[in-house]
């Protein structure tokens, strides 16, 4: 009895303890370690021991044109894909926000891209995009349009990858906005109808402003994930052709596990941290603003 009393009084510490220890060991420690390595010159392949170089790796990364290009690509990919997903996803949600037969089946179809294995998705799209046997060039052909190199040409590779991201994640925004719409109070709608507002007026003056906070939160959460997109790009192009689809995440992976240049890789990762942090703070700010 005395023993369980001891346990009960400290429940608030003892219950979360295993999870906290786990997170400290497997997340906090590695992140601190990455920070530490980022101040060093340490390439496993060189055989030399780790050497402290202060901000050396950061300066090296900032002077590296490959990094600047990857940074630009990451922004282009993230902003482009996420904006299109938000607009498209919200539009689709507003269309689907009504009672109709088979609504659950429609939702199930929308879930498919979200639960399917990304690597496998990437490879299926590679078959689609294949310049000689791919379905998409066949479609272009049908309409008399010139064929495209899709992911095999450096000019089209990034938009092609964005298209996959848009295909995969627009349903996410749709489902989130649908859930948000379902939770809206019916009151403003009733009074608007009494006042004889048109469908378009109701959409513009009531639905959109009410749903905006949800859309914004979904958009930023999606952007945090898009910044880190790995599986699709790695499986479809590996960052190629050349470096033409290399984002920061892919670059960090290559520096870590292909070149084993851990100092540089860590510095790249710290930059990525900051981007993620920035977007995470934005989420919190949006939530506070709208008191979500």
């Amino acid at each position: 009895m005395i023993k369980s009393g001891f346990f009960e009084k400290r429940l608030r510490y003892l219950f979360p303890l295993p999870a906290v220890l786990f997170v400290l060991l497997l997340m906090v420690f590695p992140v601190v370690y990455t920070l530490f390595v980022s101040f060093s010159d340490w390439a496993l392949t060189s055989g030399r021991p780790m050497k402290f170089v202060g901000l050396g790796s950061y300066l090296k990364v900032l002077r590296e044109p490959r990094f600047i290009a990857a940074l630009e690509r990451t922004f282009f990919f993230t902003l482009g894909a996420v904006l299109i997903e938000s607009v498209l996803g919200t539009g689709i949600a507003i269309i689907l926000n009504r009672h109709f037969r088979g609504k659950n089946a429609v939702k199930f179809v929308l879930l498919l891209p979200l639960v399917a294995t990304p690597v496998a998705i990437g490879i299926v799209w590679n078959l689609f995009y294949d310049p000689t046997i791919g379905f998409l060039n066949y479609v272009l052909n049908l309409f008399g349009l010139p064929q495209s190199g899709w992911v095999t040409a450096s000019r089209t590779v990034l938009p092609s990858l964005m298209l996959v991201d848009i295909w995969q994640w627009t349903p996410m925004i749709t489902l989130i906005v649908l859930a948000g719409l379902a939770g809206l109070s019916q009151e403003p709608y009733e009074s608007a109808r009494v006042d004889g507002a048109s469908h378009f007026q109701i959409l513009r003056l009531i639905t959109l402003p009410l749903i905006m906070p949800t859309v914004l939160t979904a958009l930023i959460l999606r952007a945090i994930d898009a910044l880190k997109t790995f599986d699709i790009i790695y499986a479809m192009t590996g960052g190629g052709p050349g470096y033409s689809s290399e984002t920061i995440n892919i670059m960090a992976f290559k520096y870590s596990f292909e070149y084993f240049d851990l100092g540089t890789a860590s510095a790249i990762l710290v930059f990525l941290f900051f981007l993620v942090l920035l977007f995470s703070l934005a989420v919190m700010k949006v939530r506070k603003q709208f008191e979500l």
Binding site: F22, I95, N104, L112, A120, I133, Y138, R287
Partner: protein, 271 residues
């Protein structure tokens, strides 16, 4: 509101415009998995072809593939079970004692890029001789599953009124006893959501296994990726294995659709 036939037709057309592009890649994958290599590379693409089971027979005939299937199951089930074990009490504590900082700490794991853990893990697990071990892989996948469990479950526990365990505690039960015998049985919907989602995320994970596993513990996503590295891509085999890897996640989604939607959308709708 009454809708006219014209409006219904327009709605139907719009619906098809949404659904067809969403489902088409899956259909094409399924069709291609039943095609022979000759039919897959045929130009123009064939919609009507002789159905063959050869791709599936080949994929399942390979010892390696079955092994990867086993590995994915072992890693996914263990990571989810262990995450529930440590995550449920933590989520309960967060919900009941309002430990928001703890919540943020665990959610950071969901926001951070995976490589930032992976690089140090690689070094540590190499030194400990844990490369290509189930231990390393399960630990890494727990970092995927745990935030999902804590996020979903702390929100769920908050919806349960405190009177639930308080009445049991008046009868002399300790709070931990009340948690196990009263709160947990009432939390089945939340636990189903957390389990389904975290298993799917673990099942689909590519990056951690790509680095931490080798011949012995390799999981399915790696198997599919490796298919692509041959000089001449065996598209039929790739598509058959893609169908195989997606099937469990899709079946789970079909059974627990309501829960999956809830779990995926709760982040943005309510915070």
């Amino acid at each position: 509101m009454k809708t006219t036939i014209g409006q219904r037709i327009i709605f139907l057309v719009v619906l098809l415009l949404i659904l067809v592009p969403t489902i088409f890649p899956f259909l094409w994958m399924l069709l291609s998995s039943f095609k022979s290599q000759v039919d897959i590379i045929a130009w123009p693409p064939k919609f009507i072809f002789e159905v063959t089971l050869r791709n599936y027979l080949k994929v399942f005939g390979e010892q390696q593939f079955l092994r990867y299937l086993m590995n994915s199951s072992i890693v996914g089930i263990s990571a989810v079970a262990l995450s529930l074990l440590i995550g449920l009490p933590a989520a309960y504590s967060i919900a009941r004692f309002g430990q928001r900082k703890l919540m943020v700490l665990i959610l950071v794991a969901r926001l951070m890029p995976g490589i930032s853990f992976l690089m140090p893990w690689y070094i540590i697990f190499s030194r400990l001789g844990l490369m290509d071990s189930y231990t390393a892989l399960i630990l890494s996948h727990m970092l995927i599953a745990l935030p999902v469990v804590v996020w979903v479950m702390s929100a769920y526990f908050e919806t349960l009124p405190r009177e639930m365990e308080e009445s049991a505690m008046i009868d002399g039960a300790t709070q931990q006893r009340a948690f196990v015998s009263i709160i947990l049985p009432l939390s089945t919907p939340g636990i189903v959501t957390a389990t389904t989602l975290s298993f799917i995320f673990s099942w689909n994970n590519f990056m951690f296994s790509q680095v931490l596993s080798m011949a012995k513990t390799r999981t399915l996503p790696i198997a599919i990726y490796n298919f692509m590295s041959y000089a001449e891509v065996d598209w039929g085999g790739v598509m058959a294995s893609a169908v195989t890897i997606m099937t469990p996640a899709i079946i789970l989604t079909m059974i627990f659709q309501k829960y999956v939607v809830k779990g995926l959308t709760m982040g943005a709708v309510k915070g």
